[in-house]
């Protein structure tokens, strides 16, 4: 880090701070219950719920869903997936999901 005259900072550089370390509870999405209304994506304060193609294992793993990536039933749809690198566990998504497809689970670390 170099201190630049005038304090200019690069855009989107907050990504280095992995706020996932803050949470106590993590959201677990039941993709069978999910009706893909996208309200979780809309309401998430971190903007860290993303639409990921079901077969995209690489992205699922990048977002912290290693186990799930291997266990999903096959299909061609998009899943709503929280990026656990940043998810603070605020549970707004779980509260607002109209189909109760998200459960907040105590995270063991």
């Amino acid at each position: 880090m170099i201190v630049k005259a005038g304090k200019l900072v690069d855009p989107c550089s907050s990504r280095v701070t992995e706020t996932g370390a803050w949470r106590t509870f993590k959201p677990v999405v039941d993709h069978k219950q999910c009706i893909k209304c996208s309200l979780c994506e809309i309401y998430c304060p971190e903007g860290c719920i993303h639409q990921v193609r079901r077969g995209d294992r690489e992205t699922l793993i990048k977002y912290g869903h290693d186990k799930e990536a291997g266990q999903l039933a096959p299909g061609d749809d998009f899943l709503f997936v929280p990026d656990l690198t940043y998810c603070k566990g605020c549970s707004v998504c779980a509260h607002e999901c109209p189909h109760k497809a998200i459960e907040m689970v105590l995270e063991e670390k």
């Binding site: 900072v9 690069d10 855009p11 989107c12 304060p45 990026d83 707004v92 509260h95 607002e96």
Partner: protein, 290 residues
Amino acid sequence: MQNLLAPGHRACAGCAMPTTVKLVLDAAGKNTIVVSPTSCLEVTTTPFPESAWCVPWIHSLFENAAAVASGVEVMMKRRKKDTNVLILAGDGSTFDIGMGSNSGMFERGHKVTYVCYDNEAYMNTGVQRSGSTPFCAQTTTTPPGSCSMGNPRPKKDMPAIALAHKVPYVATASVSYPVDLRRKVKMALQANGPAYIQVNAPCITGWTFETGTMVELARLAVETGLWPLLEWKDGNLVGVKKIRRPRKVEEYLSLQGRFRHLFKRPEGAEDLRLIQRLADENIAKYHLVD
């Protein structure tokens, strides 16, 4: 949905402000310059050397966002650029210390969209009372006690101040009505002059409520009539969102720690009636209930 506010920012878990900002930026798009005053938004998104902003952004002081935005707008006009100039500010700056700059910007007619995320107190500095703090709310400078029932003054009517300046587009919005909010931002950006949108943004740290319920609370604020969703164009009221399921104010207030004293003390009953009257007045004035 394009997310022009990157994650990794330091906002409290479950804060309505980043959700609001995300939705506003989604409506505004990449061709936008944002100006913010000193605020929760500013400190949580720009601790050197990090920034959560994926659009150009500038922060100067607490009370001059509208002035700085005026300068940016003037240069965009001079260079014939159609770049949106957007202010994202808290209520402290908007309602109080920035009043002078705001009045000047509105009066000079700059094409700047001013979005105030209103969490109803000076949250960044520790939950002190602002001009936007509602009647009876507990803050650190209006604490209830044996001689006090919390904030003794009503909320300042900032949309009325904008309208008095003949601001061509004025609206109130809520984080719990995201489609309405996005539409209003798009309308504001098209206005031929300044625009002012005030968004209800529940603050989990300052209002004290159950984690994850910020959207629910914002929805209740609308459904009680305390936060009517209104829209004015060129001074005329053109949009009113009707309340589908009207609620009593208690259903909204009882979920928040900042109003707890109204329910625990016998004198609180009279204040609850007064607050219900405020809500009823809004409902009558704007025909919020069919």
